[in-house]
Structure formats: C-alpha cells, structure tokens
Symmetry: C2
Subunit: 202 residues, 2 copies
C-alpha cells in the first residue's frame, strides 16, 4: 500500500489526500509534527533530503516528494491528467504558477496568521496578503469564462489550486466579489469523493 507522510495543516498535503480520495485509492497516512521538527530528523531526511511533507512512499519503498509531482504521478491514466500534450502542459503551467505565485502568498499568509511568532513583520504580511489577493483575482478572471482551469473537466491543476484557495480567509486573503472563483470552489466540492481541508487546530 502507498504511505503518505503528511501534516493536516498543509494544503500541499491536502491536495494529495483529495486526489487519493477522488480516485478511491487507499493510502496509509503517517502524520508528522512539522513544528516539533519531525520532518528534520536524520531518519526523515533519508526519505526526503528536503525535509518536507507531503512525501509519498511507494509500495517498493522509494519516495516521491513535491505535492504537485505526486499529483501528476497519481493521476497518470486517470481523467485528472489530460491526455492531450498541450492541455497537459497547460495543467503543469498552472501548477508551477501555484508554487511560485499562489502558495508563497496565500499559504504563507495563513501560516503566519496562525503562527505570529514566525511572521517577520506586519509589512511583509501585508505584502503576502496583497499578492495573494492578486493571485486569486487572476484565477477568478480565468474562471469567468470556463468551469475548469484546463479543458472540460477537473484536472490536477484544479486540485492543486483548490486547497489553499479554499481557506485563504484564514490568512486574511478574502475572496469577496470573486464569484467565478467561489463557484469553481463549489464545483470541486461537489466532485464524488471530495474531502475538505481539516479545520486548523492550534
């Protein structure tokens, strides 16, 4: 069976658990407390030298890191990875955009809001919120003329951008007036097998 090393606070982890659930695929879950350094132990670093979750351990013991790479690996052969070469590249483009423009703002604002001691300054938090809102507005404009980010059905691009978008307000990044984005969140929540982000537990 697959094993997922994860932390329930993480939207990067949630993406993977969401796809596993949509695919109806069983997976053993091993929770790691990132605040207690459990992903920086010598043992964990042998599994992932980058010291991060989520990390997927395959049946043969090899490990795959990076949430979006895990999504692609899991989605191969399913409807969640486009067959068409250009559509697949477009899905990847959204996923790279997420890691560069969306996650470092929307997710980091949420992390700092829940862990004020980790927030370097109110000015930097305000910048994260501003850039996070800009990322959500770009998504909203794209979704104003289509139901899914790429092609005619839900793909790894949608799943990858769902998790932190769905809890953006926890970091002070509101979605007021972003109607197309909010409707798209609802479409993902209506997929058979959908699971939500866990409520944050301090």
């Amino acid at each position: 069976m697959l094993t997922l090393y994860d932390c329930l606070e993480s939207g990067n982890g949630h993406k993977v658990r969401l796809l596993l659930s949509l695919l109806g695929r069983e997976c053993r879950l091993v929770l790691k407390d990132i605040h207690a350094g459990e992903t920086r132990t010598p043992e964990f670093l042998t599994l992932n030298p980058d010291g991060r979750i989520p990390l997927l351990r395959l049946e043969d013991g090899t490990c795959l890191a990076e949430s979006n790479a895990i999504l692609v690996w899991l989605a191969e052969g399913s409807s969640f990875l486009p067959d068409d070469r250009l559509e697949r590249a477009r899905a990847l483009a959204w996923m790279f955009w997420e890691q560069y423009n969306h996650e470092p703002n929307v997710a980091v604002a949420r992390f700092w809001a829940h862990h004020p001691a980790k927030c370097p300054s109110q000015e930097q938090l305000a910048q994260k919120r501003e850039k996070g809102r800009a990322a959500l507005e770009l998504l909203d404009r794209h979704l104003s003329t289509r139901d899914w980010l790429v092609g005619g059905r839900a793909s790894v691009a949608d799943l990858c951008l769902y998790s932190y978008s769905s809890v953006s307000e926890e970091g002070g990044v509101d979605r007021d007036g972003l109607d197309a984005l909010n409707r798209w969140l609802g479409r993902i929540e209506a997929l058979p097998g959908f699971i939500a982000m866990e409520p944050w537990s301090d």
Copy 2:
C-alpha cells in the same frame, strides 16, 4: 515557427533557449524589456495574463507560459523527458522544487544585486543568499553519487536547474567547495548544442 517572448537577463528564459538549442529546434526570439513594462502592456497581457516571460507562442497562435511547463512540452518525445512514469515524476519534483526553493533565492538575490533599488533590505538579501546557498548544497549532495539529477542522462530537471545555478555568484551565492555541483555544470556545458547564459548588461 515557434516564437519565444523572452528577456536575456532571465534564467527562466535561458532554460527554454537552451533546450531549443539542444534539440536543434528553430524559434523566433522576441525580446521584451521587463523594466520598461513591456510584459505588462494590454497587448502582452492578452498573450499571458500573468505578464511574464518566457512565453512560447505555438504555430497556431496559442501561448504557453511558465518556463518549466514549456520545457516539458518541448521535451515530449525526446531524450530530455524520461519515458518511465516514476522518473518523469521525479524530474517534475526537481522542477517544482526549483520554482519554490531555488529560483526565489538564487535568482532573486541576483536580480536584487543587479537592481539595488528593488532590494527591500540588506537583511532580506542576506536571507536569500543563505537559502540560495542551502539549495545549492542540497543539489551538490544529490549529485555527489550520480551524474544527472534523474536517471542516467540529462533531462529537463537538469536544464531547469542549470541556468540560475551557473550564475549564482552574480547574486553573491558562491559555489565554493560544491565540487559535485560544479562538475555537473560542466557536464551540461559539454552537451552538443549548449548555449551559455548571456553576460548581464546593465
């Protein structure tokens, strides 16, 4: 013919030009001055709503953004994209890691070093340099037991991480003592068709 909108300062752009050259593929190059706002004009934003280069325009006029997605699209069917599902996912994992851990530190330190007015503080520059060096050290450790990042040959993962690594010292991120990394840079530079990053012109 393909058209690449690019800026010669950019390592993200260089990755794409490097792969095009290695593949011997012709491409029309259209340079954009990012400092003069040429990627934020209404005309350019219709091509890429994110307002960034590199941007690849295909023969039929459709556009593909995000350097690493462009690499994957171009590499399909060539030796630079692994055939094996797990190796392909591992290559993607390095590419997502690059956009989250390497580029925001190594490339941004270089950008701030060349454009001091854009640098928010010396403290933040020092942090970028420290995290950039840590990223290069992780690469160096991985390369200490193998020639290429994934599998037995050069892949999109190597090309994606080459460009900014090769000019890290311009941003004050040295590669002293990172022998495996420096030898790997040399292996990429020995590939038939290799082209180097352009010297920075202020």
